[in-house]
Symmetry: C2
Subunit: 331 residues, 2 copies
Amino acid sequence: MSELRRDPIGGRWVIVDTDHPHRPEDYEYEPLNWRGGACPFCYGNESMTPPEIEAIRDPHTSPNTPGWQVRVVSNKFPALQIEGELDRRGLGIYDMSNGVGAHEVLIETPYHQKDISDLLDQEVENFLLMYCRRALDLARDKRFKYIMIFKNFGAAAGASLEHPHTQIIALPMVPKSAAEEIKGAQNYYEYRERCIYCDIVRQEIQDKERIISENKHFLSFCPFISRFPFEAWIMPKKHSNSFCNILAEEVPSLASMLKETITRFKGIFAGLSYNFIIHSAPVNGESGTEGYHWHIEFMPKLMRVAGFEWGSGFYLVPTPPELAARYLREK
Amino acid sequence: MSELRRDPIGGRWVIVDTDHPHRPEDYEYEPLNWRGGACPFCYGNESMTPPEIEAIRDPHTSPNTPGWQVRVVSNKFPALQIEGELDRRGLGIYDMSNGVGAHEVLIETPYHQKDISDLLDQEVENFLLMYCRRALDLARDKRFKYIMIFKNFGAAAGASLEHPHTQIIALPMVPKSAAEEIKGAQNYYEYRERCIYCDIVRQEIQDKERIISENKHFLSFCPFISRFPFEAWIMPKKHSNSFCNILAEEVPSLASMLKETITRFKGIFAGLSYNFIIHSAPVNGESGTEGYHWHIEFMPKLMRVAGFEWGSGFYLVPTPPELAARYLREK
């Protein structure tokens, strides 16, 4: 029989197929298919992007020329635009506002075909540090309430450009899912005077069966209430509500955990496409967030569909996270 | 500049690209690709499915033989199983239960390649009436709190079998998205003493620009806060919280509206895959649902991706619903 599991943070139930679990070879995912062609994110094509906002580059090289390791530019087709004040107004029973915000692209490496698992540890550290620098810089703008950092890798995961990159969006409001997560964590925090994510870390370390890997500062595991098969979370063991507060000494630990986790995935699923999102507390004075705990949610793109789950908030998980973690641990 | 819009029911914000809107030809969707092969839902293969639960069939024909127009069977690989009492228990900080529920498949037509747009009006009425009969029957089981009726059509929309069919799932709890929608509507109802969906119907009829079609009992429109491009809702004009309370005289009106809407979609997007879900009130005594208003949410599968939106609850809509409705209206 299958199992129903309840997310203790958001109250969502998922159905886990414990009876006839899917093994990795049962997933017919769409593997990466490098098409090549002129790429605006490659060396020498710097003029094809909007001007550089920030970069890690060799001394004596100029912005918007080769010589960089990590490069941040505005999105050429931004979802939101930086100019203007938020102009919130009613429209009959509806509410709307102009699309104020920022939409940046962080190019993680000059190499077109290098996934995170192919980079040196130092290269991963560099772009993680740049995530943090951009988020801190954007948070200086008091109009912004939430900085969203996410990566779509591979066409199947929605990347419109194949060159590895991450998107950074600054929003004038906190997205609904983030607000719910933070509220759920805060409720628990006020009731128990403990962080629910810290409790999850403790329980996962004790139970062992859902752990993918552990190092000094981070834990990588398949969450008990995974919504997607082989979903994985990377979580700091120490309580902290904001990614940007990461200490310099923790960055190498996170880089190594992120690289290791993706390497393990690629060992099982060749040419995998994936998404990850950094879940972090809002910025600029949203209160009631001390019970939150930042983390990365990693979602491999193993199933072709989502329409239904999208609309219903109801999830069927064909591989129990305990089994997924075992495959990933043993890889 | 793009526009931010707020869903007045759930409080979710979406970003609508009003600057460079995608036209229908800008979507690279995956068209239907009929593969054929032995199909358990076709005439003559009735023994390939679990036994028939209910059917509309010619007199003098026996269950589990040809002669049917609509046929309902148990799902061969059910997400939930009908036997047993709900066994809810804690597991450390987590909550779980056994997977009690029902999972049925309704085969809408004996014809393997007929989408709803290819059926006669009477055939559409037949399967809609059967939706209703199955939902009423399942709701007699007091363990069930919610009956979910949804259709995945086409591999791109997650259908594992290509023969047209609908899934009916009875759940021992109300799914999170449904609970949120109902709560949002109820809050409005208690505050204004009016149904928010009735207000939406009124505003849409007045604004006109998002309407796809209207008939005696139903309205088909692209909602102001569409999360997906070309999303469409079919809504009864009369207030009613439950699909199962539909009157006999309203069924032909719904059948014709559903068929017309899908026909309009197929006129723009040949070989389209799609999902639809009937959103209806819970069953068996959940209170505080009188402010709810049942409807159908139709989601064409135009974009290949969802991973990121899935995880974040944050939606970018490349075609404004006003423009989508115009394309559909003029088709």
